[in-house]
């Protein structure tokens, strides 16, 4: 058996003393980095790079990858407890996670996030093990029209993200798309809406936007409250952190669905964990029997994005390792790390460096396990953080936001933009405009524009190009269903009521 042989080879690397030690260091640093708002896996990995000079290449990669997925997990902690999304994908976790905290169930939310992340990671690992060559060819088959259609699906799904007025939610999506247009237009090279500011030519900084809208906005809203309820928590025993018995079955299905969506979206270069988390959350809400519960402290609203983003992060290694195509900036640093270690990434990596590839894959399993073991006991520590008085906590949060945002690209400008988005965020919160759809529009909008125009350019201006490929056609049909389904269900409800009235 090939796969057993490969696994054994990988286990030899990953279970070595060095392998275990640096895997642990990686996930530990990752968790820590994820908890700190803004610092993010990118900064941590680039800073850890020089340290890996003294390690053998597979071990170095194991550690750096550990930082990456550890940070995804850590990001959920600050999101759930403090409504501070360290990464864009954690912004989705904020929606229900922070509500759960406010309802006094932070332990349950953190526990669910841990289990969901773990399952998502293991799910993606199985995919990497079994299907890497297949998925790799699939990734290059995905063209501009397919990307456009899948993102359209995401955007349509986003209309379900909001709590309250659907019109306000849709307006926020559009405002997000508009904000996303600031900066250089990739297709033509023209600068748009930069007002001559150099710092805006690459667009609004995503971290500044997320931190401002969610973090600073929320803090301002809290400070404005004349009377604040002290946070109650649900005790600190292990039992109190477990979801209720009736919540379990639905939770497992949610986690598996999230893992599937996450692994699929993550394997596409150029999509990433944030889109995976948004899509999976939206899908979950769509198929849920009581979608009204989402955004108000629904446990599945934590499980879904958390399983999806962790699955996506690990699935992203498929195109990176088997094709040499980095899906995002973090993957680009990991490829850079390989080159520094004298390893040529690319289509031949799996065969030319089997020890590294399989060692890394096996280490994902170990790392996820370590994260689970490490974090379940830590939940108690994190929850205690909430008992810090707010007048001590909020200056610290603001301070971490400032340094974190600065460190993303060493830019003072981004500190100012965080402040502006923070004030806007406060107004949005108070006027009941949901910030999450804005963020999704901001991420998806520019990508949709680029892919739409590129598809038309390559298709020589023929709009049927969007129905030329199978994935694109499928996603377009799904988008149409997403739009029509609510109409149909209102129609059904009405006819049901009518027939019932008729019988009476």
């Amino acid at each position: 058996m090939d796969i057993l042989h490969n696994l054994a080879l990988g286990a030899g690397v990953a279970f070595s003393l060095h392998g275990l030690l640096f895997c642990f260091v990686g996930v530990l640093v990752g968790t820590f980095v994820g908890v700190l708002p803004g610092i993010g896996p990118l900064a941590a990995i680039s800073l850890a790079l020089p340290l890996t000079y003294y390690l053998s290449p597979p071990i170095a990669l194991i550690m750096l990858a550990g930082i990456f997925y550890g940070a995804q997990y850590g990001g959920s902690i600050a999101a759930i407890l403090l409504n501070l999304p360290g990464t864009a994908s954690a912004a989705v976790t904020c929606l229900d996670g922070n509500q759960l905290t406010k309802q006094g169930r932070p332990g349950v939310a953190l526990f669910t996030a841990a289990i969901a992340s773990f399952t998502g990671g293991i799910f993606a690992l199985v995919m990497v093990l079994g299907f890497t060559p297949m998925i790799a060819s699939f990734a290059t088959d995905f063209g501009a029209q397919d990307y456009f259609s899948i993102m359209l699906l995401g955007l349509v799904a986003a209309s379900t993200l909001s709590v309250g007025s659907p019109l306000k939610g849709m307006t926020m999506v559009v405002l997000g798309i508009a904000l996303g247009m600031v900066g250089i237009d990739d297709t033509s090279g023209a600068e748009r809406f930069t007002f001559g500011l150099l710092a805006l030519s690459d667009g609004v900084n995503l971290v500044a936007l997320a931190m401002g809208l969610f973090g600073v906005g929320e803090i301002l809203a809290n400070l404005g409250q004349t009377h604040r309820e002290p946070l109650k928590t649900d005790g600190l025993t292990f039992r109190s952190m477990l979801p209720r018995r009736e919540e379990w079955p639905g939770l497992w299905r949610t986690i598996l669905r999230g893992s599937g969506i996450g692994a699929f979206v993550g394997a596409l270069p150029g999509s990433g964990p944030a889109i995976a988390a948004f899509m999976s959350y939206a899908a979950e809400k769509k198929i849920s029997r009581n979608p009204e519960a989402f955004g108000k402290g629904e446990l599945r609203g934590v499980a879904s994005p958390e399983s999806a983003n962790n699955a996506a992060v690990q699935a992203a290694f498929i195109p990176t390792l088997s094709l040499g195509i980095p899906g995002d900036a973090v993957m680009a640093v990991l490829l850079g790390a390989m080159i520094l270690h004298g390893i040529t990434p690319g289509p031949m990596l799996v065969t030319s460096e089997p020890e590294m590839f399989w060692g890394l894959v096996v280490s994902f399993g170990i790392g996820n396990f370590m994260l689970l073991i490490l974090n379940l006991p830590l939940i108690r520590v994190w929850v205690r953080m909430l008992s810090i008085p707010y007048h001590v906590l909020y200056p610290a949060m603001l301070f971490f936001i400032c340094v974190g945002v600065y460190s993303v690209r060493n830019s003072v400008f981004d500190i100012y933009s965080t402040l502006i988005f923070g004030v806007i965020g406060y107004f949005l919160i108070r006027l009941r405009y949901p910030p999450a759809p804005l963020l999704l529009g901001f991420i998806l909008g520019p990508m949709m524009e680029v892919h739409f125009r590129r598809a038309l350019l390559l298709g020589r201006g023929d709009y049927t190009t969007f129905f030329d490929s199978v994935p694109s056609t499928v996603f377009l049909i799904l988008s149409a269903l997403f739009l029509l389904l609510p109409l149909w269900s209102t129609f059904r409800r009405r006819t049901a009521r009518l027939s019932k009235e008729g019988r009476d």
Binding site: L36, I39, A43, A44, L47, S165, L167, K168, M170, T171, V174, L175, A178, M181, D185, T187, S188, A190, R192, F193, V216, I219, L220, L223, G224, Q225, T226, H391, V392, Y394, P395, A396, L398, F399, C402, V403, Y406, S407, N410, V412, I415, Y416, T418, L419, G422, V423, Y426, F427, R430, L431, Y433, G445, E449, F452, R453, L456, L457, R460, G461, D462
Partner: protein
């Protein structure tokens, strides 16, 4: 019985409409291209127009919504802004420690009652933490203190 007009909500919706109008107006400065080959101006104009349309619908939706209580909070907004601006201005010129001290003190003033001792202690603690975590561990490219 209808509630009186909620001018705050109407104003916010109108502001969003202005943003939409701005995108249409400014976006049309860029080449529009054609439906088959779109220029950089095409999407901004469409998006701006949709935003404008939504804003108009919103004005109708929110006109008589319930009034927000305690909406204007000048003190927190001012003090948090002052803290951010001071931090941004001092970070690269004076160093991380002075920037942190000034920032933490300023944002601590956002809330009543004033707690000078606790704010000062917090500022010192965070400066130390910042230097250890961000300068020594993460190596962000600023000095602790510029002489």
């Amino acid at each position: 019985m209808t509630r009186p007009i909620n001018w705050l909500q109407v104003g916010a919706a109108a502001l969003l409409g202005l943003v939409g109008a701005f995108f249409v107006w400014h976006g049309s400065d860029y080449p529009m291209g054609s439906l088959r080959r779109m220029g950089p101006g095409f999407f901004p104009v469409i998006v701006g127009a949709v935003l404008l349309l939504f804003a108009i619908l919103l004005v109708l939706e929110v006109a008589h919504s319930e009034k927000e209580k305690d909406f204007w909070i000048p003190r927190p907004i001012l003090m948090v802004s002052a803290g951010f601006v001071a931090f941004a201005a001092l970070l690269e010129r004076a160093g991380l420690v002075p920037a942190t001290l000034v920032m933490v003190i300023l944002v601590s003033l956002a809330e009543k009652p004033l707690r000078p001792v606790s704010a000062a202690a917090n500022a010192v603690a965070l400066s130390v933490l910042g230097v250890v975590v961000f300068l020594y561990s993460f190596g962000i490219p600023v000095a602790a203190i510029h002489w």
